[in-house]
């Protein structure tokens, strides 16, 4: 288990989360995670293990029941303002064209919101460059409902990156896409991350996606969620689609799968995870 250290960018320390007042549901139990700056981590686990709750905690949208969370050396007690988020549902605003959807963060984030009109040209140029980098050049003036699901998800990624966030939170962003589009977007995401190097937390139930993209994979147990294993993935970058056929890749995926299956059947047996590499 990775011990929380002062050098890490995101530090989750003994965090528990309990929902409800009468029928208490424990969503997360004594969670510890440490993520260094610029790292790409993935959080995997069975459905209902509290992965999405984790997202809300780290972004400060919901306070933990106990424990502490620090991001960039600051204790989190209110919604963070340096985060980009993308979800399984692209959540683009249907009355805005793609370009102005991508520019939305600049109308809200401090300090850009005060100079939005003045800097509009600059923002437009950056938004267009982002759209270009995800292969959406020429779609800036389309409305979201004129785009396919995969294209909407690309635009949603651009919106998450628009204000140059220091933390990118992705909650199953490719969960609703078909296999071809999904694997195409793995590479799009990896290229963006290689170019920007912002700390990224990807929540997913797709083990192959986690191993393909992340430097470090956190495996969570069934509810109440806690980290049962931390696995460092050391394949060199950029990783290319052939990698998924590599026996070493398959072995890691298999290992993670076994682990999740095992602790689902015998939840009590899940003790503190072991670090593997």
């Amino acid at each position: 288990m990775s011990a929380p250290s002062a050098s890490s960018f995101v530090n989750i320390n003994g965090v528990s989360l309990v929902y409800g007042k009468k029928d208490q549901t424990k969503a997360l139990d004594e969670l510890n995670m440490a993520i260094t700056e610029g790292q790409f981590v993935a959080v995997v686990g069975p459905s209902g293990c509290g992965k999405s709750s984790l997202m809300k905690l780290v972004t400060g949208l919901r306070p933990p029941t106990s424990g502490t969370i620090d991001v960039g050396g600051q204790r989190i007690d209110r919604p963070l303002k340096i985060v980009g988020m993308a979800f399984q549902n692209p959540t683009l605003l249907p009355w805005r064209r793609t370009l102005s959807n991508v520019m939305l963060p600049m109308e809200i984030v401090e300090p850009h919101r005060h100079s939005f009109r003045a800097d509009r040209k600059q923002h437009e140029a950056r938004a267009l460059a982002l759209l270009d980098s995800v292969g959406l050049d020429g779609f800036a003036t389309k409305f979201p409902w004129q785009l396919s699901g995969g294209m909407q998800q690309r635009a949603s990624l651009c919106r998450a990156l628009m204000h140059e966030p220091s933390l990118l939170m992705l909650d199953e962003p490719f969960g609703a896409l078909d296999a071809f589009t999904r694997e195409e977007l793995w590479d799009v995401l990896q290229d963006i991350w290689l170019a920007q190097k912002c700390t990224t937390i990807l929540v997913t139930h797709d083990l192959r996606e986690a191993v393909y993209l992340a430097d470090k994979v956190f495996v969570m147990s069934a509810r109440p969620g806690r980290i049962i294993e931390t696995y460092d993935v050391t394949f060199p970058r950029p990783r290319r689609p052939d990698l998924v056929f590599d026996p070493a890749f398959a072995e890691i995926v298999q290992h993670l799968r076994e682990n999740i299956r095992h602790q689902r059947h015998v939840p009590q047996a899940a003790s503190a995870g072991r670090a593997a590499s």
């Binding site: 919604p79 249907p94 009355w95 809200i108």
Partner: protein
Amino acid sequence: MNSEFLGRAMPWLVTAGTLALWEGLCRLFRVPEFILPAPLRILAATIEYWDAIWFHASHTLVMTLIGFALAVVFGLLLGIAVGSSRLAYQGLYPLLIGFNSVPKVAIVPVLVIWFGVGAIPAILIAFLMSFFPIAVNVATGLATVEPELEDVLRSLGAKPRDLILKVGLPRSMPFFFASLKIAITLAFVGAVISESIASSRGIGTLMVQASADFRVALVFAGLMVTAVMGIVMYAFFAVIEQHTTQWANRKMEMEV
């Protein structure tokens, strides 16, 4: 192509058919004019009394529009309050439902006591009848914003005002415009009701006077004019709805 043409012609065909049937039945059974005048007789009465009808109808139209304008402003504000605050919703909703359940005819005498016979009761009844659908629709649009979208914005540091201005209000616009075409007809009904109880001018007054004088053809002329004005105002707001919230009516082709 053919069925599209038929679709456009249908409203006219059905209306013409109904009127023709009415005319035919009246003639066939020799229905006396003081019970049910035939359409052609009504048309004749409309032309004959056009000056009087227009004098009253234009007044009703003005009352309706003033009441409706008040309803748009007030309905929007109330809808925003109820839709964006859970507390306001819980506190105001039962009151609103209760208020909307009271027949507005019953309020007219009270308004007459307060404001006297004339324009103000008509405007107020038009307003009271039409603000409810506007408020409810705007509130619905605001209250059904996707939670993920809210998370995205809040994680950018959005203030509650940002959420309403950037997401809530644009999202509730299709609901708002859909409610306008319902509200305008209700406002019209409200104005006519009030005029027929307490006013010296307006299409409602005209019909009450005409029926007291047993001029049934004129009563029906008033009814017809009322119906036509209702349809015209509905159509006007239906067109506005189509042009303002394109994104909500995705009938156009995918252009990709």
